[in-house]
């Protein structure tokens, strides 16, 4: 049996050397130079971890892409047909090369196994959270140590707008969202009609808004600035317009803003039900 290594050993060794050298150069460059600029950036603790994950993923994917490019380029240069030379003939088929099969299975198995383990670890809703919802009663490991002092914000989705309720400030509900920096936020996401998905992109939070259910997501904004809020669940006619811009501000600016909101929304606040984790649990009001 003619093995691949016996026939093409020098070629493979040359390819591997080129691949390792190029990967050793490009992977760190991507991680250190491109990584800090990968979304969703580092506006919060959660989005910072997500940006780190993306940088790791890019660095791991890089050698795979480099391998393909190197192999393709090497073949183009060395196996191309030269004018006047004899036509190239295909070699005999490869069969039963145990070392090749073992190498292939080992490398791909390690990569897939590492990514599976890494992904599971990063998705585990612990201190670093995944940014997704964690159900009404998060397991202990999913609750940040700072949860006891978290600012609770209820996020209410409806066709087609997001509104936000602050139980710590008289239950005022607003159409705008401002959050204090360096303060743990406890989002309670729900809906009053169909399923929406609250996606605060730069904060790294994406939690489904389901009628009759509260979905909890923790996040700590680390930088001031604007963040986009979108609906990530196709929800009807104006789904594409169900977006707004939130702002992370200093604590003093937040206090000023929320005080203004309490005054501005006083006529509506009088009519709101007492704060409840699930907004209008039953459809009390309907046409027809």
């Amino acid at each position: 049996m003619i093995g691949l290594w016996n026939r093409a050993g020098p070629l493979i060794r040359r390819l591997i050397v080129i691949w390792l050298v190029v990967s050793a150069i490009t992977s760190p460059i991507l991680y250190f130079l491109l990584g800090p600029h990968l979304p969703p950036f580092g506006m919060s603790d959660v989005s910072g971890f997500q940006a780190f994950d993306n940088a790791v993923m890019v660095s791991i994917v890089d050698p795979v892409i480099v391998f393909l490019v190197v192999f393709f380029g090497y073949a183009l240069v060395n196996f191309r047909h030269h004018r006047g030379s004899a036509a190239l003939e295909d070699g005999p088929p490869l069969r039963g090369d145990g070392r090749t099969i073992a190498l292939w299975i080992t490398v791909t198995g390690l990569m897939v196994g590492f990514l599976a383990g890494w992904g599971s670890y990063e998705l585990w809703p612990g201190e670093h959270g995944a940014g997704g919802g964690q159900a009404p009663n998060p397991i202990t490991l999913a609750v940040p140590a700072s949860a006891s002092t978290a600012l609770q914000v209820q996020v209410i989705g409806e066709q087609w707008a997001w509104t936000f309720r602050f139980p710590a400030y008289g239950g005022v509900e607003t159409t705008d969202l401002e959050l204090p920096v360096n303060q743990t936020i406890e989002f309670h996401v729900t809906s009053i009609d169909v399923i929406h998905s609250f996606w605060a992109y730069e904060l790294g939070v994406k939690a489904d808004a389901v009628p009759g259910t509260e979905n909890i997501a923790f996040v700590e904004p680390l930088q001031t600035g604007g963040f986009s809020i979108r609906c990530a669940e196709l929800c009807g006619l104006w789904h594409g317009h169900m977006s707004t811009t939130g702002h992370v501000v200093s604590n003093s600016a937040f206090q000023t803003w929320i005080t203004g909101q309490e005054a501005q929304w006083a006529p509506a606040t009088k009519q709101l039900d007492p704060y409840s984790p699930v907004y209008h649990e039953q459809p009390e009001y309907r046409a027809g």
Binding site: Q159, W160, I192, H241, W265
Partner: protein
Amino acid sequence: MKKVVGVAVGLAVAVALVVFYIVDWVLVSPPIATASSTGTQTANLVLQTVAAYGSAPNPDWVSYFEQDAQGQWEHTTFFTLPAHSVINVTIYQYDGASGFRNPLWAQVRGTGDGTMGLNGKTMNAINFADAAHSFTIPDLGVSVPLQGVPATGSNPCPAGPCDTSFDHNTIKFSFTTGAPGEYRWQCFVPCAAGTFQGWGGPMQTLGYMDGEIYVR
């Protein structure tokens, strides 16, 4: 040869279906109305809301109408408004109340002083359960609740467009348009009777309870 003919026929059918879809979409889109200019930087927009559109294809759907410069009622929710202008809006509201699911929308917003005129009375909110519809432009921060006519009224309008001899409320307010652009607007009352929780049909269809405002 048979293959070529088959491919050509299939392609022709596909193109015909695409053209049919586009033409159908264009033809069923409501017309775009222009607000009546009343001078520099001001315009009037006159609307009415009815319990039933009264015409095919959805005669029993709730709907908005817009009054054109000749005083004729047009079935549309697409308006062109001047940029950076004060828009004086009058809405004749003929429908009964079904109420907001979210009482937040019962408050008037974005009208300058945060008030509206309801049958001549200045108000900053209504009871959320008394709302029939709302006129809300989320991106301009404008939202005005429209009080429903009492169920005990003596002369309800059966189908639109309605005239003021029928039971109605008159709502007046003004808002200022910003920079040129396209803004969607909608009703936030789940008012689509006969659909799941009132959110279907006219709530999901342009020309009834949703529309676009073209600020030029």
